[in-house]
């Protein structure tokens, strides 16, 4: 499949059409993350219009989007940018392109669900810090949380943990 066809397929899956966007910039104006992104949602749509799939997949835009839907809600033409971003992320992962920190977090998150059936923000944050090698991030909050028993160091897995792990396994297999 050519790059062009792949892009079109992603657009179709996301139900987004290139030329619905007339580059008004309202989306980027309201996007809370656009300051930090390589380019905001408007830029992303421009890349899609000029067929620059590579730039989309290699940008940090697709990983920094919080999925807040501010852009779609305000777009005069209902262009569903976060849906396109989601498809772009899947395609990037299929090609092995990743943003290191996001990848570490997402994998830690899912393995924690696999092991416990549930997730605990602070355990997740702790494991993330270990794997991402950011030992001090947010650790200043830990004493308060321990004192007020906001985090429970003894995690109890749910009864259906193995059921949940199997469910994730089946779902992952379905994708392949």
């Amino acid at each position: 499949m050519t790059e062009h066809e792949t892009l079109n397929e992603l657009m179709e899956k996301a139900d987004v059409r290139q030329y619905d966007c007339y580059q008004c910039g309202k989306c980027s104006g309201g996007c809370p993350m656009s300051d930090a992104m390589d380019f905001g949602p408007r830029g992303l749509m421009r890349c899609a219009q000029v067929g620059s799939l590579g730039r989309i997949l290699n940008s940090d835009t697709i990983w920094l989007c919080t999925g807040c839907h501010a852009c779609v809600e305000r777009c005069p033409h209902d262009v569903n940018v976060p849906a396109l971003i989601e498809e772009a992320r899947y395609e990037a992962m299929r090609r092995g392109i990743k943003r290191h920190d996001s990848d570490v977090l997402n994998k830690t998150f899912v393995s924690s669900v696999r092991t416990f059936g549930r997730n605990h923000e602070m355990l997740l944050a702790g494991l993330y810090n270990v794997f991402a090698m950011k030992p001090i991030q947010d650790m200043a909050s830990v004493p308060h949380m321990m004192k007020k028993k906001l985090i429970n160091p003894l995690l109890k897995p749910i009864h259906g943990t193995s059921e949940v792990a199997e469910l994730i396994e089946r779902a992952e297999r379905w994708d392949k």
Binding site: E73, D101, V110, R118, I136, D138, L150, E163, L167
Partner: protein, 319 residues
Amino acid sequence: MKRYAYFPGCASESTAKSTTLANEFVFGALGIDLIEIEDWNCCGATSAHTLSDTVGLALPARPLAQAEEEWPDLDIVTGCASCYARLKVTNHRVRTDKEARFIVEKVLGKPYEAKREVLNFLDILSGEDERKAVENALLRRFKNLKVACYYGCLNVRPAELTGVEDRENPQAMDELAALTGAEPVDWGFKSECCGAAHQNDAAFETRPLAARIIENARACGADIILTACPMCQLNLEMRQSEYIRKREDKLRGKPSFPLFSMVLPPDPNETIPVLSITELLAIAMGAGGRRLELDAHFVPVGNVISKAFRDENESEVFI
């Protein structure tokens, strides 16, 4: 008595302790029965659906299908905006997209039709009967308490799913807060994203999001921020001392020591307490600070609240 199948969400077991206590108190006082979905699992927000669409659908579908099997005529309710979004999207996709339903049922290994609605607490409490019940349950009221109601992105958007009418200026929480005598302020960040989804993996990039919300609430004269999501709650609270110290250091031209600045207690003149809407309601319904474990908040709330009772004697009873 109204009944709902209840999905507490992972935060209810840890960081959202006082909110969870308040939820129990409020729904108990209103005579609304929240039946916890047995052995519920994490809905996967927000990592699972980033990694895989199918896993993102399968995780929320398990508790949803379980609720449907056990209580086919109960709507599902959750107190967390992230869970709400994931459960709602799954429900919606199973209903409207045949392929999605086929995949979900196949992976789950049991039928799931998405017959009932997924709701959040604001949806429930703003019903007409419920609002009357809230009014009747109030034991004390506030005066001169200005509140900035922060809905968060996922309680409001996408509006086609959430059914929120005024998407740039939602009203449900403002109306509930006003019942207690608190005065909702007009401000600009009601449904702007706080960045909680990336607070680990893009910590540096998401700090300004929480900072802007806090600054705008203070600039608009609010005494406290009200939330309807434990993720927003934690994010807005934890970031406060940190970013304010950093800004101060910058103003004074000093180098910033993030770790050191985080250990210092937040300065009450620079911070704004953050409470959940159910905590505010619970306090107005007579719950004490100790009962709700309000001291678990990162930013102290006791003082602001105890000064704001209409009847001054109440301040002594509180805490």
